[in-house]
């Protein structure tokens, strides 16, 4: 039996929903794309039309200012019907605007999680877990070594490491992906009273966050000047070896990512402090999601898809990796 008859089919460009003639998060430009969220690896430029939450659509437009295609905004929970199939977007908790895709037809249903997280965060509401017969679940952290401490503890570690650095006369350099993690870090720091300077790629997305009600009271763009004593810099991991960061003679580099559980992350990112704060579900949350959705068939994709499917199968579940498996690099920056 095909894992998801009728509702979705795997095609070379990506997963395709025939009822809506739309590809979900295709890796190449298509006529109509349903975007789960605005990260570059899910939302490439150049689609003819996008279907997305209003926040994802706004972020997509900001990230691709030259794009001229059409947008159809779909609010979470708003049902869309076509060809006997009902589509609903469900909060995914990954980043602002992120959504899971729920498809239902007479007697069949499917949930595509996209990237998701079940925890509370300051910039995205936690993932919900509606029932579906088939679950397509991301497995970026689908191994039991990836278990992250509680959010409150991670926030405290971030805040304390920044305060300590500042007390030592160093500038805290917080490495965080420009969409999602950067704003989350800035929200935590500014709420704690630590003034924050943001890299341009993250700063330019702030209006969408502010519209969604996230405050950034004491932050400013890097363009207005490098961080002064007492300020923290929030910047993407890829910038750690650029002159911008190198110019800060006394700095302490904090790496914020699920991959930070690995000691090797220290050398890879020139990091002094590793904080495993992730926008993805950790191993336990993945299993919780599987339990709560209660699907008969589970298909894993991204990251450790083979391992996670094997672990689920060992629990007696019908689970398999999406054919083709690890189609994305397993250490993308948005983790």
């Amino acid at each position: 039996m095909a894992p998801f008859p009728g509702l979705l089919e795997p095609r070379p460009e990506g997963l395709y929903a025939p009822a809506f003639q739309a590809w979900i998060d295709p890796a190449v430009p298509v006529t109509r794309a349903l975007l789960s969220h605005a990260h570059a690896d899910h939302a490439v430029a150049g689609h003819g039309e996008i279907l997305a939450t209003p926040e994802t659509a706004a972020l997509y437009r900001l990230r691709h200012p030259d794009w001229t295609g059409a947008t159809r905004e779909i609010a979470c929970g708003e049902p869309i019907e076509a060809g006997g199939v009902t589509l609903r977007l469900v909060p995914a908790g990954h980043v602002l605007g992120s959504a899971q895709v729920h498809l239902a037809s007479d007697g069949d249903s499917l949930l595509y999680t996209g990237d998701f997280k079940r925890r509370f965060s300051r910039t995205a509401s936690p993932a919900e877990a509606p029932h579906a017969r088939t679950l397509l679940i991301e497995s970026t952290f689908g191994l039991p070594v990836f278990r992250f401490p509680p959010t409150a503890e991670l926030e405290r570690r971030l805040e304390e490491a920044c305060r300590e650095a500042i007390a030592d006369g160093a500038v805290p350099v917080v490495l965080a992906y420009s969409l999602g993690k950067a704003q989350e870090a800035a929200a935590i720091l500014t709420a704690a009273g630590i003034p924050t300077v943001m890299h341009g790629a993250a700063w330019k997305l702030l209006p969408v966050f502010q519209t969604a009600g996230v405050p950034f009271p004491i932050s400013r763009a890097y363009e207005t000047g490098p961080p002064a004593r007492g300020e923290a810099l929030v910047t993407p991991p890829s910038t750690v070896r650029t002159p911008m960061v190198r110019a800060i003679k006394k700095r302490r580099v904090l790496y914020l990512s699920g991959w930070a559980v690995r000691e090797a992350a220290r050398a890879e990112h020139d990091a002094d402090v590793r904080i495993p704060m992730s926008d993805h579900a950790d191993f336990d949350a993945l299993r919780e999601h599987v339990r709560e959705v209660g699907a008969e068939t589970i298909v894993t994709l991204h990251g450790f898809a083979h391992d996670f499917a094997r672990i689920l199968a060992a629990d007696g579940l019908d689970a398999r990796p999406l054919a083709g498996g690890d189609e994305r690099p397993s250490r993308e920056e948005d983790a």
Partner: protein, 544 residues
């Protein structure tokens, strides 16, 4: 009794700190918290080995046994444990992430030491596996991590035994040089720590039969650059063999190689000849193939390598001898802090009273004379010259300018990187070890065919390694454990000391001591050196 937790947390703190001074501070804070009776074991464990160097003891537990034990204590199946190890990049780290953070009272340092001694004494793999599982059931995450790292022979905290020497000095208010000398002479960082704590470093006596670091020479490129120092320099041929320290007391002989491995069993003829000399001593010298009158080529000696014990036919066909060039200890006196000229006098009197072979010592008054000596050394089949200051002390394990070496390099090759893997120690986590290839005709699809010829630990800067790491991650075409196969695109220029026939690489050759000279981004892989180039250099070498 001190909990092993203290050591594990000390190592964790050292790993988390930047810079040698901070690491020394963390280690010394840990050392002062340890009970006196457990201090020797603690100092050894902090330096990465449960045993003293002079014990020459090892715990070999196979990877499969460790995975099996990890499976037992974590409840995860073998495949998951293996996948986790690959994902994390280190078995100890992976297992620690699979264990609960705290399990209450863990093992003491004494118990951990007893565990490692038990492993070394155990005869059967099953006994070792059971012992490992038993101790892992009692360890919390951080303890398991460092226990397993110790077992696999690499703590990777950026602190080696010399860092621990300094931490001992800092912890107990001892002199750093005195601590280093005590460790060198005793072959035991543990005994050094105990003596430092008791204020008795000076009481440590030299002990034979543990590996000691080799004093290394800095290279020179031309005779002229050394001309001003020639009056102070003793000149010797640079032999093309295996550098070794020979420890000898009565009938007992031990040969340690540059890698501090005991190679005595590979050279029973050398050991027997040394045993015949009267006295008790430690000599620095070279093991060379002997053709009856003079050293044979390294290629001949190479056939004696890689065998645990050579058979009588091979011993007869390729006899090996030890050519001594330094005397580091005699009777009860360690001579490291004695000038070379006096050590040399001692060596010569030892040689006069026995059949010991020693190097000839020459002198040169000018660059021109040095050139002549170089040519003569080459004519004798040797690699080049060594130049040693007559007043030089023996700085074990250090490369200084008191000793110089002069070789003239062979041609370089432009090679293509085919695989990369992560380095260790300071370069853990960086793709710093490269396997490289030369061109060898066409492959099945009509493209260039590449055959591997060597592997080098990068001579590039950290910066270059990182930049290249990004490139290599992008062109990775397969992962095999820690090794990434990459598309053959990146060209490097490598220099080397020699070329040997070798079954290890597909090319049939191996480069000896390959070093990366520079990146060649200007050169496409299709213009890299060919197997034919290699064969030509090889032919030239063996006909020389």
């Amino acid at each position: 009794m001190t909990s092993y937790r203290i050591l594990a947390e000390t190592l964790e703190a050292a790993a988390d700190s930047r810079g040698k001074l901070e690491k020394i501070a963390r280690l010394s804070e840990g050392l002062v918290r340890v009970d006196e009776a457990e201090l020797p074991a603690a100092a050894r464990l902090l330096s990465g080995s449960p045993f003293a160097e002079h014990e020459q003891s090892v715990t070999s537990v196979g990877w499969a046994s460790v995975v099996r034990a990890a499976t037992e204590v974590t409840g995860w199946d073998e495949e998951t444990v293996r996948a986790c190890t690959v994902a994390i990049g280190d078995l100890g780290e992976a297992v620690s992430l699979l264990l609960p953070g705290d399990r209450g009272e863990g093992p003491s340092i004494a118990e951990v030491e007893a565990f490692f001694r038990g492993l070394a004494a155990a005869k059967k793999p099953a006994q070792r596996r059971d012992a490992l599982a038993a101790i892992l059931r009692r360890t919390s995450a951080v303890e398991a991590k460092y226990l397993l790292k110790t077992l696999s022979g690499g703590l990777r905290v950026g602190a080696d035994v010399t860092t621990v020497e300094e931490a001992i000095a800092a912890a107990f208010g001892a002199d750093r040089e005195a601590a280093a000398r005590a460790r060198r002479d005793s072959g035991d960082i543990g005994e050094t720590a105990a003596a430092a704590r008791a204020g008795r470093l000076g009481d440590i006596r030299f002990r034979l039969f543990h590996p000691i670091g080799f004093m290394l020479a800095s290279p020179i490129e031309t005779a002229e650059e050394i001309e001003g120092e020639l009056a102070e320099l003793a000149v010797e041929d640079k032999f093309d063999g295996i550098r070794a320290h020979a420890h000898k007391d009565g009938d007992r002989v031990a040969l340690f190689s540059r890698t501090l491995d005991d190679v005595t069993r590979q050279f029973p003829d050398v050991a027997a000849a040394l045993a015949a000399a009267p006295g008790r001593f430690l000599l620095d010298g070279e093991i060379v193939a002997w053709d009856g009158e003079r050293p044979g080529s390294f290629f001949r000696l190479q056939r004696r390598l890689g065998r645990k014990a050579p058979d009588p036919e091979l011993l007869a066909e390729i006899p090996a001898v030890f050519i001594a060039y330094d005397c580091l200890a005699e009777s009860d006196a360690a001579l490291f802090e004695t000038p070379w000229s006096e050590r040399r006098r001692r060596l010569e009197s030892l040689a006069a009273a026995s059949e010991l072979r020693s190097s000839a010592v020459y002198a040169a008054a000018s660059a021109a004379e040095l050139e002549i000596l170089f040519a003569e050394a080459r004519a004798r089949g040797n690699e080049g010259l060594m130049l040693k200051r007559r007043d030089s002390l023996y700085q074990a394990g250090k490369r200084g300018r008191a000793w110089r070496k002069w070789k003239k390099p062979l041609a370089t090759l432009d090679v293509v990187v085919t695989a990369v893997e992560q380095g260790h120690g300071k370069r853990a986590g960086m793709l710093s070890d490269y396997t490289f290839a030369v061109r060898a005709g066409e492959n099945d699809e009509g493209g260039e065919r590449f055959v591997n010829i060597g592997k080098a630990y990068s001579g590039l800067s950290d910066e270059e390694i990182r930049t290249m790491g990004t490139v290599f991650r992008r062109i990775t075409i397969g992962k095999y454990g820690p090794v990434r196969a990459v598309r053959p695109e990146v060209v490097l220029e490598v220099s080397f000391d020699s070329i040997q026939k070798s079954a290890r690489h597909k090319s049939g050759y191996a480069l000896r001591f390959p070093r990366i000279v520079r990146l060649r981004p200007d050169k496409p892989a299709a213009e890299a050196s060919t197997l034919e180039d290699v064969a030509q250099i090889y032919e030239k070498l063996i006909s020389a």
